[in-house]
Point group: D2
């Protein structure tokens, strides 16, 4: 079978290799991968594996969906033919994150899913919502769960609350869908009026073009009667945290998920406004299962921006680097 | 001005009396009441004031909406012309309920709102969602807030979860609306197929006629793949708690709001299934304000079943006693 | 090696059998059991395995402590020589309880630890607090964790709060120790003045002899200025729930842990007082680890009432049935 | 009666003035102030009232304790002779902080308590724990409540957890006392070995002199086996937030209370370690009452470092500016 491996730095160094298909040991499941989506973190790992502490060779990508081919002895959760997704953290079932869990990330500490076959423990897999294609399902393990965890599990999102989303990348668009599904209102930013129009068509309440309105936190305050929003999903970028702190209401929450978030913190404002800044690192299997119930109940469809064949996975990573996408970038396997 | 007063037991003893309009003291607000809705608790207070510990004479009803006529000195939250609702507990602003708060219920410890005018502290009033009529707004302070508190504030309702509602009275229909708004699925029971059809039209996912299916908890388990529901709003009746315990999932919640709930408790099942039974007593002003944001954002309209003129308030109480309503019973003032 | 097995109903039917020592498979750990404590649930399982749905033959007891003898391949949490305890639920790592977890109880769905050797998955074991003996450690997996979960994890016990404990069995005495450690005040009941004196010596604030004061809920209200207690650990018995509901404050919590709790529920009081009745079913490994940190930091010593040698385990079960103990009953292996 | 007033910038501009004693209006209480403690925020307000938006003239200080002299009509919570403390926010009873509440701070938006008499609403007062002197009680409304809110109300402090405290100012020493009372372990930093010895005598588990060990976060990691602490009370200073982020465990909390906290935020670490940074702005009356129960139950005595007579209040502010204190600075009135 074929599998991509990071053996050196840079997208162009990423190559397909032939590997044996491993038999599933007791408790394990052999999965025929059908699609894998790319996250910014996967892109960074490919770009600079040494700086990011990635042992090589390493198969990239945390997010994949496929079909169960064979199960090891004692496996009770799945049978051949089941359509499944891997969990980002193979060992985070429920409760708070632990160091154990953190050492079990696919495409990081462990080999990822950009391969024709993977063998995973049955506890590191969840069933796909029935209405989804493999491409759609492959977008859920990291980006969707990060959005769900931020707003629903941590944020306790209520109908009528207002959510601020920064940009139209994978996490933001998932967050838009979950917020709308929860009866909340969404303010979303982008540098493209066309993307803002798409977000509006998906249910966004207000939109802000941050190119024409660089001090977008003021626009947010105007839209909310000066009170600010209930929740921000802070996907990061230079200097955004301070603006997010300004844009959130007294007692509001800011989910800190950005790999690249930088800049100073206005600690006095955090204190005075009783803000919660909460680091969010994907989520547990239990949260994933909660999310899947919601996706299934609403027959929600993740937004897949572009699809690349396995052989062109490098082009998919280049596409992520260009940051022009709306929703998710997927590789079919 | 005219005001109803409980001076003896029974609906037919309830009469209109003439009273002076009191000037608002500092911090107080004079409100011209326009509508008042009836809750089962108001009905019981009128029926048996002695047994329920009601000091007489006492103006009944917690729930009312009207217009601000005059404000006392120092009032900053309202001005004449504002459309407002009273809060059930005049002294429960936020946080957990306290004994102080419990001693401040309108139509119980304090005179209620079934009168042409009332004077309330400015902290015991909230603004009406702009799109509502007075009749609609008058249904919110007790029944709607009880439903909101049960599902959203206490239950932490998430999209994709399943809610079980018992019957089609005021609280249940409000709970149906809030659950749908939150992206949840609703199973609702009634003895009337016609009412079940109405509930379905409002977004219920599944319905159960408990006359033709008296062991409705089994139907609930069937509908949920044997797992049970996430939340029950237990409005009570003979023997319902044990069925609710059977119908809820492991780790689920049962909001105990029924004035008349009776029967034995299967404590072993509560323990084994890690169920939370949570007493819910209306809610705080802060929850009320959260709810109003949701109602306004969704332009939700409470279901008013029947409207009676002030002079026929006794007929409204009789109507409540017959328990044939779908949604709320309102008296216009 | 020797292991007890339930093959028929009744304590006297419980017998020792010879069994092979199984080699640990990948991920598994072979433990030489040194002590096992008895819980009321173990007693019921031995007494009436058929009524309790126990498959036979079945080795009883959830609670044990011992030494790691050998580890299977891939085991990273333990090495030979480590002193460990099994977790009650072998598959409840963290978060809320799931059906999966519920099907993994030692001495119930799975073989228990009343044996010279057991093989468990490495995720179903935790390290012993260093200062404890095996006998002491063997009391923690069920009784202590139930108490800890009730008061600290669920109850959110704060310094200065008041806890009501019913009787002086294993859970109650553990709860007394955790409550004192947390800076809370304890009211404890018993039918024996001598046991009450022992509880007082361990830090109880107030004691009630429920034989001389059968309406103990009134004494509790007197001791708390009429307000009631913050938390009750409801270990059960006939008619205790209604008294606990009367004894708890507005907004208080009642941890429902009693296997035998029976009786009617005053649902109106639950509603009016906004009480939380929360079923507690032991706890997760994550809670266990939190508890062990506290036990280690305080060098807390569980109270072992009586110790029986392995051959006399039947006497230990009879002792549990007599209900005269203060703290825990332990079998050394 | 005499009252200090801020009429210009700087400590030396702070002067005593004669004022009328105002009669309490309905709902109000006249209090003879006996002691007032100083917080860093009071110091800043005196130093730079213009920069801090203080309307002048303004009586400084949020924290005071005294005796009820007279009550207005309708007051039910207090009677003459009661020993009371004012609440920092006069309008924050319970629940989350609101904008209303924020506009009701004593010594900021409203006149403070550095005066012989004050008139406050009965809802803006709480009873003193009986065992305290007025000087001791005067230290509770701001510093103690900030510490309690951070660790107990927000942090959910459990026995066995580890708390990191920065310095030996008022909040840190209160936090030390509450942490010890809760069964937690404390690591505390100071530039003075003598102060560290005092902290150790009060129950601190470990101490770090940050002068001899400027990279104190490394010492914290060493003391905690590389895992980090559960909670940090971040009272601020240049560059401390980044060190606190390094010193806290995965999933830990950092209470952000520092008026002067500055510096950059390592957002990647916040995300990766799933840290909660929570702004804490004193606390509600409900939290204050919880805290008082704990203080009373433990007969805890706040640490008063120095006491100044009313006439020398300016010296007390200079003392605060020198930052050499251990515990609280108090002015007797």
């Amino acid at each position: 079978m074929k599998a991509y491996e990071i053996r050196a730095s840079g997208i162009d160094a990423l190559k397909l290799y032939d590997r044996e298909i491993r038999k599933p040991a007791p408790g394990e499941v052999l999965v025929r991968v059908r699609a894998s989506s790319i996250n910014y973190r996967d892109y960074l790992n490919v770009l600079d594996p040494v700086g990011r502490g990635i042992a090589m060779p390493r198969t990239p990508n945390s997010d994949g969906a496929g079909e169960v081919v064979e199960v090891g002895s004692g496996v009770s959760r799945f049978t051949p033919g089941d359509r499944v997704m891997g969990t980002f953290f193979q060992c985070w079932i429920g409760g708070g994150i632990s160091s154990d869990a953190m050492a079990s990330a696919l495409g990081g500490a462990l080999d990822g899913v950009l391969a024709e076959y993977v063998v995973l423990n049955e506890h590191g897999l969840v069933a796909m919502p029935p209405h989804l294609t493999f491409q759609e399902a492959s977008t859920l393990p990291c980006a969707a769960l990060t959005a769900w965890h931020s707003l629903v599990e941590m944020g306790g999102l209520k109908p009528g609350q207002i959510v601020l989303l920064l940009g139209t990348g994978g996490v933001s668009i998932m967050a838009l869908q979950f917020a709308v599904m929860s009866g909340a209102r969404v303010i979303i930013t982008s540098s493209s009026d066309e993307k803002l129009a798409r977000a509006k068509a998906m249910g966004a309440w207000q939109t802000i073009n941050y190119k024409t309105q660089p001090d977008w936190e003021k626009a947010v305050l105007d839209m909310t009667g000066g009170l600010g929003v209930d929740h921000v999903v802070e996907v990061g970028g230079a200097g955004t945290v301070e603006r997010s702190v300004a844009a959130v209401r007294v007692g509001g929450t800011i989910a800190m998920i950005g790999v690249l978030t930088e800049g100073t913190l206005n600690a006095t404002a955090v204190m005075r406004k009783s803000i919660r800044l909460q680091g969010i690192y994907v989520g547990s299997r239990s949260m994933f299962e909660n999310m899947n119930k919601a996706i299934a109940a609403h027959e929600m469809r993740p937004v897949v921006d572009r699809i690349f064949p396995l052989e062109e996975a490098r082009a998919a990573f280049h596409c992520m680097g260009e940051a022009g996408h709306f929703g998710k970038i997927v590789v079919t396997v």
